[in-house]
């Protein structure tokens, strides 16, 4: 018998729902920031347009999730953005500071955007209709993000300029921080209530399968599975840099806020 789709969050899932959506939207906010920051530093005009588009998409996804949090939790624009302190963010740590190269932006995005998309796929058949409907739109857009970053990873790894090893190194940094972020989330009640269809362990496994396929396609050496799952985020800041938070909050022009 088909599961009943609900308009309200099942009882007992509110806290997990809020934490999960905040973690995803914080990560997407940072991804959008970095895509925006790199719009005018891309290798070609076409890639600038694509990167700018993806910045808009990511901010749009944040807006959709913030809308859900405002409707189904006690969040407001002030608590979500304007008055939020850096230490309350739960973004994936490799996005918490400036990204130093095009290669790093592309490889981080392939892992982080790609991994978060696998997590979103487990919501596409959610028993909570408002989430399901929003995720459907997001996944349509994410297909292009994935095609873009994957094609760039393959191109960079085969550019003949020695970038291959660097792409592999960035992968080895990004995959463990994604795994560490996912492992700290809790969704047991959401899974029991059918809001999420896949356990977080399975999502991590599916993400590794995706990363391995991309690494193989790029002709890189597969990292040791233990290395991929290791919980080492010491290379990165735990919370977003204040300078980035300042931009995300829109403080510079807050006088014009309506």
């Amino acid at each position: 018998m088909a599961e009943k789709v609900k308009e309200t969050l099942p009882k007992g899932t509110e806290d997990e729902f809020k934490s999960l959506l905040l973690a995803i939207s914080d990560t997407k906010l940072l991804l959008g920031y970095h895509f925006g920051e790199w719009t005018f530093r891309t290798p070609s005009l076409e890639s600038g347009i694509a990167t700018c588009n993806f910045a808009q998409d990511e901010l749009g996804h944040v807006r959709l999730f913030h809308g859900l949090l405002k409707n189904h939790s006690n969040e407001t624009d002030a608590t979500l953005i304007h008055e939020r302190q850096a230490e309350n963010y739960n973004s994936i740590s490799c996005l918490n500071s400036s990204i130093s190269s095009w290669l790093e932006l592309i490889t981080f995005s392939a892992v982080i955007d790609g991994g978060v998309t696998i997590l979103l796929e487990s919501m596409s058949d959610s028993s909570f209709r408002p989430l399901r409907e929003r995720v459907e739109k997001i996944l349509q857009e994410e297909k292009f993000h994935s095609d873009y970053t994957d094609a760039w990873v393959v191109a960079l790894a085969n550019d003949g300029n020695g970038s291959s090893e660097m792409v592999g190194d960035v992968f080895k940094k990004a995959v463990p921080v994604f795994a560490s972020w996912l492992n700290k989330l809790n969704a047991s009640n959401l899974i029991e209530a059918g809001v999420l269809k896949t356990s977080l362990e399975e999502t991590l496994g599916n993400s590794f399968t995706k990363f391995e396929a991309l690494i193989k396609k790029a002709g890189l050496d597969l990292p040791d599975p233990e290395e991929m799952a290791s919980d080492d985020s010491s290379d990165f800041l735990q919370f977003p840099q204040e300078e980035i938070i300042y931009s995300l909050r829109g403080e510079k022009n807050e006088v014009f806020r309506v």
């Binding site: 070609s44 588009n53 191109a155």
Partner: protein
């Protein structure tokens, strides 16, 4: 990274013919497809295609046409 030119074609309804809408530069077909989507996203295309410019088979160019006798 060597780039190629890809011609972009699209249509906005099933009644409409596929029409040439522009081109993108890309190092390969996967990126050409993404660039076509992001550069020409002002319409709700129901179909969008890319073709490598060098794969288009010319029947004649304007210069050739000038040399065709009997027109």
């Amino acid at each position: 990274m060597a780039e190629m030119v890809y011609e972009v074609f699209g249509r906005i309804s099933s009644e409409q013919e596929l029409m040439h809408i522009g081109y993108v530069n890309a190092p390969g077909v996967e990126l050409a497809k993404v660039y076509a989507h992001t550069v020409y996203n002002e319409e709700n295309w129901i179909e969008l295609c890319v073709v490598k410019r060098e794969d288009i088979i010319p029947v004649y160019h304007a210069e050739d046409k000038l040399n065709i006798k009997g027109n």
